[in-house]
Structure formats: C-alpha cells, structure tokens
C-alpha cells in the first residue's frame, strides 16, 4: 500500500490549516483523472436512484398490479415479477437497503480497523502482537464464510449482517492503517507531542490520523466496493434482508427462475449492483493514483 501522502513533518510544523488542505489536495488530484470523474458520476447516479427512487416509483413495491411474470405494458414499464408486482417500482425501492447496509458496514469496518490499526502501530509490543494475531484469525476466513457461520448461529437479520460485514472488514483495514502509521510513529512531532504530555487519544487521532488520510480514503472506497458485493450477495442467497422486502439482491433471487420469460426482474438489479461497484472502484482507483502521485511529488 502507499505511504502517507503528506510529509508528516510538514504537517506537524504547519498545523491544522495545512492538514485541512491535504484532504483537498488529494481530492483535487483524484478529480483530475477522467476515470475517477466517471466513477464519481456513476456512483452519484446510483445513490440518487437508491435515495429518490422510492419517491418516483409509480406503484407500491408490494402491490399486485398484474399477472405474474407479465411482459412490459399494461401500465408497467418493465412488466411484473414472479408474484405480479411491478418490477420497475420494486427496482426503485430496492437500492436503499443495499446502499444503506453497505455504508453502515463500511463505517463500522473502517472505523474499527482505523482504531485498531493506529493503536497497534502506536503502542506496539505485546498489544500490537495480540491485536494482529486476532486479526489473523478473522482473516483466516473468507468474509462470506465468516458471515454464513454467524448467520447459522443467530439467524438472518439486517443489523447482524451490517455488524458481521463490518467486523470482518475491520482486520483488513487495520493491517493497512497499521502499516501506514508505523512510518509515522517514530517521527519527531509524535515524540514532541508525547514530551508535552498529550493524551494518548489526542496523539492517535490528532497526530497520527491526519498522516494516514490517503490510505484511509483508499480503504474507504475499497471496503465500500467489497461490502456492496458481499451484502448484495447475502441478500441474494437469502441470508440477509428477508422477502417480501424490495431489495436488489432479494429481487434477483425471486425472479431468476423465470428469467427466460421475464428478464427485467434480474437484469435491472444486476446492472444496478454492477454499476454501483464499478463506480466506487473507479473512484477508489483515482484516490490510490492521486496518493501515489502526491508521494512522488508530481
């Protein structure tokens, strides 16, 4: 992974005004790339559909508007699903759960990973060793397997899925942040802060955090991309949000048996999930490139 974008000593001398600007520099460098701009455009479009879709949906997502699996027409834009509900309306209602759950999981995962990573790097020694061994154990499971294991124990529920995906994301973030923070903890300004008796939390979040912003931003994007995929998948296989909820993952499963007669119930949510993940990934790649560019002093 990349090293912190800003030379740390610069920040230490210059104080908060510069720190604020580093975020701006990174984001501006990201937005100079056409791929990142396209990524942001796609991402915002999908967020808009998820947020405002329910407002413009012509029918209730649960209303029966025609015979099951009927083709477009008869007052429906994309026909009806396997139970006779309007595909277009269910599609417009179905993004909010995927997006909301993924954002929740990303906030938990990146937040927890950040705290663990900074703590491990700063305190070091036994604490570092123990935290990293615990991370290893959680990383010994593919994320989907860990999620399925806990669903077996507790049954499928939305808060549980958000929590599981968040927790299984955290060790992966912690690794990266620890690596980035290790290069900062030995710097003079950290020693200076220690010497004047700054509180530990103040050092972690006031001194170390501003120096890992670029890997952090890349992690947010990367983990959001993966969380969207994982949560949509869990909803799809029936271990996340439960029918009759209108949700892109649930929709795919409900309609995939009838896909030859009524493709839209599968095609629309598949395209939406694909675009959402592609958008976040293009944006993430932009962050990563910007961070490397700033490092090289370009």
């Amino acid at each position: 992974m990349s090293t912190p974008a800003i030379t740390a000593d610069e920040v230490a001398v210059a104080g908060p005004a510069i720190r604020q600007r580093q975020w701006m520099v990174l984001i501006r460098a990201t937005m100079h790339q056409w791929r990142a701009r396209i990524g942001l455009g796609i991402f915002l479009l999908m967020v808009a559909i998820a947020l405002f879709g329910p407002l413009i949906a012509p029918h209730s997502p649960d209303a029966f508007v025609g015979a099951p699996n009927s083709p477009a027409g008869n007052g429906t834009l994309f026909g009806t699903d396997s139970l006779g509900r309007d595909v277009w309306s269910r599609f417009l209602h179905g993004g909010l759960s995927v997006l909301g759950m993924s954002l929740g999981a990303t906030v938990i995962g990146v937040g927890l990973g950040l705290v663990v990573g900074l703590t491990a790097a700063y305190i070091g020694g036994i604490t570092d060793e123990v935290l990293m061994r615990i991370s290893d154990v959680f990383m010994a499971f593919p994320q989907i397997v860990l999620a399925l294991l806990l669903v077996t124990a507790f049954g499928p529920s939305v808060p549980l899925i958000i929590l599981i995906v968040g927790i299984s994301t955290a060790p992966r973030v912690a690794r990266v942040i620890r690596g980035a923070a290790l290069q900062v903890v030995e710097r003079d300004f950290v020693k200076a802060a220690e010497a004047v008796g700054e509180k530990r939390t103040r050092i972690l979040f006031g001194e170390l955090l501003p120096n890992v912003t670029s890997p952090l931003l890349v992690e947010v994007g990367l983990r959001l991309t993966y969380s969207i995929g994982l949560i949509a998948a869990l909803n799809f296989i029936g271990d996340g949000i439960q029918p009759p909820a209108a949700d892109w993952g649930v929709m795919i499963n409900e309609n995939r048996l009838a896909v030859s007669v009524q493709p839209w119930g599968v095609v629309l949510p598949i395209l939406a999930i694909a675009l959402l993940t592609i958008g976040t990934n293009l944006l993430t790649d932009g962050f990563a490139r910007a961070a490397i560019g700033i490092d090289r002093g370009e």
Binding site: R35, R133, D136, V137, F138, A140, F141, P142, Q143, I144, V145, L148, L149, L150, V151, T152, A153, F154, T225, I228, G229, L230, A232, A233, F236, I237, G238, D239, I252, R256, V259, S260, P263, V266, V267, I270, I273, A274, T277, I278, T280, N281, L282, D285
Partner: protein
C-alpha cells in the same frame, strides 16, 4: 531460513487452532440451544433430547469442543442433522468437485492473465492498453455472483442457449466427467481473478521493460519476442506469482457464491444449503475445511514470496 519456515508453519497451525475455536464458539457454544436451532421452535421434547444426546450438548462446553476437534482431526466429522448421513460421505464427492472447479479455473486464469499483463505492458498507453486497463478495473469491482448471473443471461438463458444455466451433475458423478457443466462456473471464477493478476503483471512488466538490461538486449539486435519472453518476463513474473497464489486462496471463498448461482454440487453450494437448514455439523465441517485451505494457500503464497525473492531468502529470518 529454516527457522523462519518453522515459525511460519507453527503460526499457521496456531491460526488453524484458533479458527476451530471460532467455528465451534459461533455455532455450538453460544447461548441458546444448538439442538433447538436445528429443529426449530416446534420440536418435540423427545426429538430435542435425542439430538442433544447425539451432538453431546449435555456435556460441558470444553468436553464438547475437544470431542468435536478430535473428530475433525481423525476425519470423523459427525452426522448431518438434516439428512442423518455421515458428514464425511455427504461432502466427500463435493470436495472433489470444488477442487476440480478451482483447479480448472486456476490453470486457465493464471497463464491467461499473465499473457494479458505482458500484452498490455508491451502496448503501454496505446488504445488497447487503455481499454483493457479500464475494463479490468471495472471487472475487478464486480461481485462474483453478478459475473455468474451475467454469464448465465448471456450464454444459458436469454441471449443464447449454448451452455447449461444449472450444473446438473448427478449424485455420484464427478465434475470432470461432465465438462460442459463446469464451463460457466469456471468462467465466472476466471473472470473474477484475471483482472487482479493481469494488472500486477502489467505494472511489473512496465517497470522491467524500462530497465537497462532490456535496452541492452534490444541494442544487441535480439528479436522483440526473445527480448520480451526470455529477458523481461522471467524478471517481471515474481509479483504475478504471489498474486496468483493469493487469488487461489480467494477462490476458496469465491466458490461459495459461484456454486450457489449455478447449483454446482460442491462445498460452496452445500454450505449455503446447510446454513439455510441450520445443519450445524455440516456448516462446522465446511467452514473448517474452507478456512484450512485458505490458511494453507496463504502460507504457501508467503513461502513462495520468500523463495523467489533473493533479498528475503538470504535475510536470515
């Protein structure tokens, strides 16, 4: 070097032991009766008692854990709560099918993505490179099940019907005897891992192509093909090998959703089914097996990195 090896292997074993504790704790030791979780709320007391007996739930948690761990180590994985078959006979054939699926995917994906990476690097900054780089970035973002369903739409249901949408492999039949049923699941895994390997290969190859010895080889008048495949590729391939090993580990988890999409009779589809049935003995066994493969392949990837990186090989630890 040897000390490092031993240390890494011991750490791997320790991780596996901790993994087994997590699997056990998550499924059997948590508050709430595992027997009730399996049988559901309307289970009769007699059946509850029988299953409690069968899963040894009336013993202490520690005794249950060691009994269970002993079973795993000796290969007796218990009895499936849903089908009342021994777990080992239930999943034996499925392990072979999944292993075959991963093997076929890897054997195609790795050379394919390395060649793609070389090709992109040679055509650096030309339109072909831009198109491939951007599309590999987009493909890398797609969740496996989205790729799988997309392929099914294109080749099995709506656009054309040349391949089966569902891998109908009769019980007792091995996947390698019905290759047509393996094509789509394998293609899904290949598309899922290829972008990662080819992007790394491209980056590493770009760097090598700028080096002095490649310029030297060109100045000697060697044919372009020789320069690329004899001089550049062997020096650029190390990072690609590492990423390939990591992608192999990734496939251990990736099979779960890919197999579910195509109803491919392997461990992944079985895991999803068993989670749905709350079939705890099967879930435990499969979670342990998948985690073990994941840990071992990651360990091999680490060792491979050391073996192919002279600086690390001679570092003494």
């Amino acid at each position: 070097m040897t000390r490092f090896l031993i240390r890494r292997i011991l750490l791997g074993l320790l991780t596996l032991l901790l993994v087994s504790i997590v699997v056990f704790a998550a499924t059997q030791a948590l508050p709430g009766n595992a027997a009730r979780a399996i049988l559901g709320r309307d289970a009769t007391p007699a059946r509850l008692a029988a299953l409690t007996q069968q899963l040894h739930l009336n013993r202490s948690v520690f005794s249950q854990y060691f009994h269970w761990l002993g079973g795993i180590v000796t290969g007796s994985l218990g009895t499936s709560a849903a089908t009342e078959q021994p777990v080992s006979s239930l999943i034996g054939g499925r392990i072979a099918n999944s292993a075959f699926l991963v093997f076929v995917s890897a054997i195609i994906a790795i050379p394919l993505s390395i060649s793609l990476g070389v090709w992109m690097a040679v055509r650096r900054d030309k339109p072909a490179d831009h198109i491939l780089s951007t599309s590999s970035l987009a493909l890398a973002a797609l969740p496996d099940f989205v790729i799988g369903i997309g392929l099914a739409l294109l080749f099995a249901t709506n656009v054309s019907h040349i391949l089966p949408a569902v891998s109908l492999i009769p019980p007792g039949e091995h996947a390698w005897n019905v290759p047509k049923e393996v094509i789509l699941p394998a293609a899904t895994l290949i598309i899922a891992v290829t972008p990662y390997i080819s992007r790394i290969m491209r980056a590493s190859m770009v760097e090598v192509l700028e080096s002095d010895y490649v310029t030297m080889a060109r100045l000697k008048g060697l044919p372009n093909r020789t320069v690329i495949w004899r001089h550049a590729v062997p020096n650029a391939i190390v990072p690609a090998i590492q990423v390939s090993a990591l992608q192999l580990a990734y496939m251990a988890g990736g099979v779960v959703l890919v197999e579910f999409v195509f109803s491919f009779p392997g461990v992944g589809a079985q895991l999803v089914d068993s989670v749905g049935n709350r079939d705890i003995p099967v879930v435990q066994a499969l979670a342990i097996i998948i985690a073990a493969v994941y840990v071992v392949v990651n360990l091999l990837a680490d060792l491979l990195t050391i073996l192919v990186t002279p600086r690390l090989r001679t570092a003494g630890r």
